[in-house]
């Protein structure tokens, strides 16, 4: 196991109260494995990714409880400078959503890609330069050697995302956290980026956590999927099983909401209602207020039920 997260609780301390954004999630990622973290906006998936890197909002964000182990090393007890020195960009790297704003406009790509390598003492001087060219070539930037002095605005969106990927994999991290890496790109480029991530994983064996709300993207890249709702993971399982036989009512509703070609319905099938406030969340199942299969028992926290090998869901219906 590359990553093992157990009962992670991340709280945001706001003026109006404590927002329990991530309220006890557990997950794991193995070598060469891609885990999709799927959910709607506000479900806590991005904050989960940030928690892994301990990049929470200064002052208000805090990991209240839980453990995060990377290759067995506990990350929650490390100091911030240790995190920057040893973990961030070195053993866990991040790729963000918008490639148009992820790169610093006033520095060359050569400088920006060499940065993590330099900061983590991977290479210096001439070796650094050749390493940068290598990694840019790896992400399919043509004529990388000639383009070291070019600036981000001289590249297309897809290329920029590749450059960000190059920055991320330069130090061959153990885990890549990709937060909506394709959302801001058009469909044809999306395919390229997904292929790139698959390539990287094949080449380096790095684990990937793919945070997305796009079930289609998750299907094409992930081995397993974890579905998040209101700060909790409601269902985890291999990607095929999740899509073929979703167990949790929320997962079922999500999949049902995806429009299919040939669908003759006039309206999209949306999930009625709103996610609950995470400052004062309901004690029982958080999806209960919107769940079509709601029972009285749902007022108590639901147990995690194992349905098959690697397939779990937290629902009273399955118990």
């Amino acid at each position: 196991m590359v990553l093992e997260v157990h009962n992670l609780q991340t709280h945001l301390h706001l003026k109006r109260g404590i927002l329990r954004a991530v309220d006890g999630i557990s997950l794991s990622v193995g070598e060469g494995e891609t885990l999709g973290l799927v959910g709607e906006s506000g479900s806590g998936k991005t904050l989960t990714g940030l928690s892994l890197l301990r990049l929470l909002p200064k002052g208000s964000g805090r990991i209240a409880e839980g453990s995060i182990k990377l290759d067995g090393q506990e990350l929650t007890t490390l100091s911030d400078s240790a995190m920057a020195r040893d973990i961030r960009g070195r053993r866990i790297a991040m790729i963000m959503q918008d490639p148009m704003t992820s790169l610093n406009p006033v520095f060359s790509i050569g400088d920006q890609v060499s940065n993590p390598l330099r900061n983590h003492n991977i290479a210096h001087g001439a070796t650094l330069r050749s390493k940068v060219i290598d990694v840019l070539t790896q992400v399919r930037i043509p004529s990388a050697e000639k383009r070291l002095g070019d600036y981000p605005h001289q590249f297309s969106g897809g290329q920029r995302q590749r450059i960000v990927a190059a920055m991320a994999i330069g130090c061959t991290p153990r885990l890549l956290v990709a937060d909506e890496p394709t959302t801001a790109l058009d469909v044809t480029i999306q395919v390229q980026i997904i292929a790139l991530l698959r390539q990287i994983q094949a080449d380096t064996g790095t684990g990937i956590i793919l945070i997305t709300h796009d079930l289609g993207v998750a299907a094409s890249l992930c081995h397993r999927i974890a579905v998040m709702y209101a700060g909790r993971i409601v269902e985890t399982g291999p990607v095929r099983r999740i899509y073929k036989s979703p167990a949790h009512p929320y997962t079922q509703a999500l999949l049902a909401a995806i429009p299919r070609l040939g669908d003759k319905r006039a309206r999209l099938q949306a999930i009625p209602g709103q996610p609950p406030s995470l400052i004062d969340p309901p004690t029982g199942c958080r999806f209960a207020p919107r769940c079509p299969a709601r029972m009285d028992k749902c007022a108590e926290p639901p147990p995690t039920v194992t349905l098959a090998d690697g397939h779990e869901a937290a629902c009273w219906k399955l118990a």
Binding site: L55, R88, M94, V106, P116
Partner: protein, 306 residues
């Protein structure tokens, strides 16, 4: 790039020409210079003689054309008061004013950048609060007063620096502080707000996510982005320094062009006023051009957009 420079120079030339016409007309409307050049008991014949000598009895348009004609060959006439070439009077003193304005600007930037950056990084903290008070003080205290205060403390009481004059690097320190004090407030605010913007941006967050030390993030990766809005204003502030130099030059007996031109205005010494305004406008145009060109240095996106 060349096209840009040429275009700016052309625009600058028009501004300078406009300024020279305005000054020419206004100074002649301000009063009769001749009565101020002769003793009060001078007979009308002497006054008429001098007026003719200086061509002041000619129609205004003809006077202007003569002025332009001579100016193009480098002749700005003799100063009425100093009886030496006005051009020499101005050019000899221009370097001193440029030196003063540049040092003043340097001082203000040297103060504004660290305070602005630290205020943004520790937003709401004590540095932020003190920085704001400090900058406000700068805006509340006029250069005249600051100059005298500096002389009193650093020259008279402590005897660390000279009270007046020109020549050694030590002589520039107090005048540069007196001159550069005022824009520190505005410049600090610009740096602070630009830094706050940048520090919030995606690429900075990514940089942090990749483990870049905070020190580098603030002083290299963020600051260079924040420099662009500051650079915009530097041209304006340099012009402000040129304008405000007169007060500081008088207080510190600094032999600059600001003093020369203002004294010439009071004594209606037209040739000196004209030459002075002309060269100050040229300086202003050139400094703005330099600032424009330097954007390309700092922000590569601009290099390709023309």
């Amino acid at each position: 790039m060349l096209a840009l420079v040429l275009r700016r120079l052309w625009q600058g030339a028009i501004s300078i020409l406009g300024a020279s016409v305005i000054i020419f007309v206004i100074s002649r409307l301000s009063g009769d210079p001749v009565v101020m050049l002769v003793p009060p008991d001078a007979p009308p014949s002497l006054i008429a003689e001098i007026r003719t000598q200086y061509g002041l009895d000619q129609p205004l348009v003809w006077q202007y054309l003569l002025f332009v004609g001579h100016a193009l060959s480098g002749d700005f006439g003799n100063s009425y008061r100093w009886q030496m070439p006005a051009l020499k009077l101005i050019l000899d003193r221009l370097p001193a004013t440029i030196q003063l304005a540049a040092c003043g600007l340097l001082f203000s930037v040297a103060l504004a950048v660290p305070i602005g950056v630290l205020s943004a990084v520790h937003r709401g903290g004590w540095i932020d609060r003190i920085g704001r008070i400090f900058a406000m003080l700068g805006q509340a205290m006029p250069a005249f007063w600051v100059g005298l205060l500096l002389i009193l403390v650093f020259a008279v009481q402590l005897n660390w620096l000279p009270a007046f004059g020109h020549g050694t690097p030590a002589h520039v320190v107090l005048p540069a502080i007196a001159l550069g004090w005022y824009p520190v407030a505005a410049q600090t605010r610009i740096v602070r707000s630009a830094m706050l913007d940048v520090l919030d941006s995606d690429h900075i967050r990514l940089s942090r996510a990749l483990g870049t030390p905070e020190r580098l993030i603030v002083w290299k990766y963020a600051l260079r982005n924040a420099a662009v809005p500051l650079l915009t204003m530097l041209g304006v502030y340099f012009a402000a320094m040129l304008g405000g130099a007169f007060v500081v030059e008088t207080i510190f007996a600094w032999p600059g062009v600001g003093r020369t031109v203002v004294e010439a205005v009071f004594s209606r010494d037209f040739p000196v006023v004209q030459a002075g305004v002309l060269f100050t406008s040229i300086l202003f145009v050139l400094s703005n051009l330099l600032v424009d060109l330097s954007y390309g240095l700092v922000d590569p996106r601009i290099r390709d957009v023309r």
